[in-house]
Amino acid sequence: MLENLIEIRNLHKWFGDLHVLKGIDLEVHPSEVVGIIGASGSGKSTLLRCVNFLERFQEGTISVQGRKVRDNEKEINAMRSKLGMVFQHFNLFPHMTVLGNVIEGPTQVLGKKKKEAKATGRYFLEKVGMLDKQDTYPNMLSGGQKQRVAIARSLAMQPEVMLFDEPTSALDPELVGEVLRVIKKLAEEGMTLMIVTHEMGFAREVADKVYFMDEGLIVEQGSPAQLFENPQKERTQAFLSQIL
């Protein structure tokens, strides 16, 4: 039995009166690729944002590497540096170059020397195919390039898990492929990934385990083969028939 890298137990989240997560249980094992799918408003992004405490939840627990994360600054910051987060809208720092973005975390949070951080940073930029743009500012990049730099920025922290919050939703269709290829490469290298996505084909191809969410609940979970080809629940069937 593998140890759980991330373990979510009975997670509840309200926005005011709106109950958006209604008791979520989920675990991510090392080197596992977990896909989370579902309609807009199903709570899947909120769930991912709860994992690194960008959203605060009211009930339930989140454990990282077997240790329950308590709601205080120090523990949250320590935990966050182990989880790489990639956003739908990239959120690159516009006042820094590509390389500046990538070394910001290692130098400011991990206390790495600039020279060392730059070497590591270039390694990860190379990995996402953006090394030639290291001195460029983000506003000169296409959406796909921005997202690849954002991935390198997260990787440079050498996290245990990478969290992807709809990483291709803000991209023009022709730019989706380059980002998905990078994510797929990470998966193949054995990186642990948690991906909220609308790209069903991608989830099916890359994920080891897929969760289908609807109205704040996990309705069904299983291997991509089970979930996509033989969904058991009516709501899953209805969702997939709309999408595919």
Binding site: N52, L54, E73, N77, A78, R80, S81, L83, M85, F87, H89, N91, L92, F93, P94, H95, E104, G105, Q108, V109, A150, R153, S154, M157
Partner: protein
Amino acid sequence: MGYDFSAIFQYFPYFLPAAWMTIEITVLGILLGLLLGLITAFAKISSKKFLNLPALGYIYMIRGTPLLLQLLFIYYGMRGILGLSALPSAVLALGIHNGAYIAEIFRGAIISISPGQMEAARSLGMTYPRAMLRIILPQAFKRSVPPLGNQFIIALKDSSLASTITINELLLKSQQLASSNFMMMEMLTIAAFFYLIYTGLFTWLFNSIEAKLETN
């Protein structure tokens, strides 16, 4: 009685100390205003009531009353309490007045930065102060440059109100001289000339700061 151009050149040198006084109280007032503005902006953004409420009260009082009243209030008030003379009173009044407006400029610039920037910084594990310092403030500062330039020009012109508390700056100087030489228009022209020079310098300075930030 006609307009005497030659008087302008003749009296010009008499204005130099006043021109210096104007720039002195303006610059000191602005520096104080920047400091107060930065502190107040953070206090107002804070979710903590004991920081938030004083900031709110300060801005409300300053924006809700005329600068002339504030100037007189501080001058007569401080003279009684601290024995403060006219010059520190003028600087204090201009600083406190501009601080409220500059606070709103900084606050506006800070909250205009996309929340995603703070989220990205925090999700790298940065603390809130570090994320502010490294990620939010450099971007916010850039956005606050144009309105700050505007505010500095307003402060320059507002400094003329200090004439009412015996500060011998450009406006008071022109009135004093005119009361003895009866050439009010000519004296006001000289004062206007200095204001326009200063405004031109401020505009140039801010344009070059903007241009420099743009290329970065």
